[in-house]
């Protein structure tokens, strides 16, 4: 664990998936300096590959809407045709430009995924730290409630709730954040338990630092590495989950241009117009692969143990 890395200097992988800077860490103040987490992670070749892959897709999602040749809901030719004048990849099931919709389809997916992952990690970290530090009854209650949350596969929980309320973007974000939180809380609690044993926490307690301050100023900065790894992992999962929900028709609704939804809408015509499916699938796949490679690099740097996506 890099005990010298205050949370503020760790750039959030939200921006990090696009441009994790190797200069982002390692405060100069600490004398016994170990290379920062991000710098160590950057040393792994796969992190660089991950940054390039995820960065490419994020770039398409961010810049795409600005440079698209048509409007995403504009009809430009006969449906499901790969041969339309002025169109790179042809038209979709309604005669809209596939390339335009592809360029527009990532922004919402990525922003929802990153937001819900951030919210989940934040909530999970708070729960985990409180449970790990206060112990006793609080710990018991939080972790038991957690176990109940973990009893549902994330996708099934989301489908269950949305089957009645209906697919809403805020609901997707809440459900994914909450189900992430219970998984993050476990990790945060384990990490907290290790930190709590150390002398500087005991010293802070001895001089009467308030407990809330100990948790925020002593414990949190010392568990940023596992939390950062967790954030990478949760972003990977979020992208997958949200794309899956959209693919199942329970995410963003038509006529939004969205990668998951595009795959759902156009898979019937996959033989005539493969691009309308292949482009978004490739984007989702490359994005998740990139995010997972970054996560793997971070986790190797943080604990030296593999911790990629497990299903």
């Amino acid at each position: 664990m890099s005990t010298a890395t205050p949370p503020s200097t760790a750039p959030s992988p939200a921006a990090g998936s696009a441009k994790v800077s190797p200069k982002g860490t390692a405060p100069a103040s600490s004398p016994a300096k170990r290379p920062g987490l991000i710098r160590t992670a950057w040393g792994h070749g796969r992190t660089k590959i991950g940054v390039v892959l995820a960065g490419l897709v994020v770039l398409i999602a961010l810049v795409g809407p600005l440079v698209s040749p048509f409007s995403p809901t504009e009809f430009i030719g006969t449906p499901n045709s790969t041969d339309v004048d002025g169109s790179l990849f042809g038209t979709d099931q309604f005669g809209r430009d596939v390339f335009t919709r592809f360029l527009h389809g990532g922004y919402t997916l990525i922003s929802i995924a990153v937001t819900s992952a951030l919210a989940g990690v934040l909530l999970g970290a708070v729960l985990g730290i409180v449970a790990g530090y206060l112990r006793g009854k609080t710990d018991e209650v939080i972790m038991r409630a957690n176990d109940m949350m973990l009893a549902f596969p994330q996708l099934v929980l989301a489908l269950l709730v949305m089957s009645i309320i209906g697919p809403k973007v805020w609901l997707i974000m809440v459900l994914i954040a909450v189900s992430h939180a219970s998984r993050v809380a476990r990790v945060a609690r384990e990490a907290t338990r290790k930190v709590v044993e150390q002398d500087f926490v005991k010293a802070a307690e001895a001089i009467g630092v308030p407990r809330a301050r100990i948790m925020a100023a002593e414990i949190l900065p010392n568990i940023t590495s596992p939390l950062l790894v967790e954030l990478g992992l949760r972003i990977t999962y979020s992208v997958g989950l949200i794309a899956t929900l959209s693919f199942l028709g329970m995410g963003l609704q038509p006529p939004t241009a969205d990668w998951g939804l595009m795959i759902n809408e156009n898979r019937v015509a996959i033989t005539v117009q493969p691009w309308a499916v292949a482009l978004p699938v490739a984007a989702v796949a490359i994005l998740t692969i990139g995010a997972n490679l970054i996560t793997d690099g971070l986790s190797r740097a943080s604990i030296g143990i593999d911790r990629g996506v497990e299903k």
């Binding site: 796969r46 038991r144 176990d147 109940m148 009893a151 549902f152 596969p153 994330q154 996708l155 099934v156 489908l159 269950l160 709730v161 949305m162 089957s163 009645i164 309320i165 209906g166 990977t236 992208v239 997958g240 989950l241 794309a243 899956t244 693919f247 199942l248 028709g249 329970m250 795959i263 898979r267 996959i270 033989t271 493969p274 499916v277 292949a278 699938v281 989702v284 796949a285 998740t288 692969i289 995010a291 997972n292 490679l293 793997d296 593999d306 990629g308 996506v309 497990e310 299903k311």
Partner: protein, 316 residues
Amino acid sequence: MTRLILHRLFYGLLTLFVVSLVVFLATQALPGDAAQAMLGREATPERLAALREQLHLNEPLAVQYGSWIAGIFTFDLGTSYAANMPVVEHLAPRVTASLSLMAIAALVATPIALLLGAYSAMRRDRAMDHGTSMVTLILAAIPEFAVGILLILAFATGALQLFPAVYAGRADNVLNDPSQLVLPVATLVIAVSPPIIRMMRASMIEVLESEYVQQARLKGLPERTVILRHAGPNAIGPVAQVIALQLGWLAGGVVAIEYLFRFPGIGLALMDAIDTRDIPVIQAVALLIAVVYIVVNLLADVVGLAANPKVRVSSR
């Protein structure tokens, strides 16, 4: 150890209860009346009233929950409104179909994953090991429906039209035409294997560095015997838990894959039920998946405890 296992079992039961409560509350008590949701635009005051009566929506929540739970124990889960038959009858062939799919996937994935993991460990830090590690990282990251579509693009369309892209057939005879099962099974195998491979590799590496393996080698046993008799069986223990967890994941993971391939299992039944707002079916499938998931996780815990010598010996 028995006490520890009993403890887990108790929490397992408690979890089952809470999960049933969540399934029930999510579908019957959330804002947004279930009857209204089911009838949608066809709702007239009379039909709403009739359906509320039928679903017992007018009774207190506790009574509704009680009769629903009682129904589960007598295999009476209500009537499917879309299929117009008892839910149990509607779901039974689909459960069998899904289980067949999952069983085939598990039978294919487990040995392949164990062998790959063990082989990587024996070839540690060579090209083959790095290759496997990279491929598992990549495959684990891609959402399973995307893996399925990539397989469809590669093997069901374009130049290679080896297998059908979607399943055509009924739920009660899914094993009749194996070529239709190839792509869904392959997708599931790719989805569940990576963590098993990684765990097996880690476990095998640990075992290969152990003293008893060294001893066996020093004794002059052929490497084959060392691996097959000494290292292999000991390495599998810790992996069993991961395998169990992956099988639990399958229960929820089949939803997107069945939907993609139009495979007539519980996952597709769930998606169809959501489409037609067939609440009794939604409840039954969600509960079923959660129960399988919980039970498998419980088994994984027990297996994990049993495989851990510290726990086994300390005999709490």
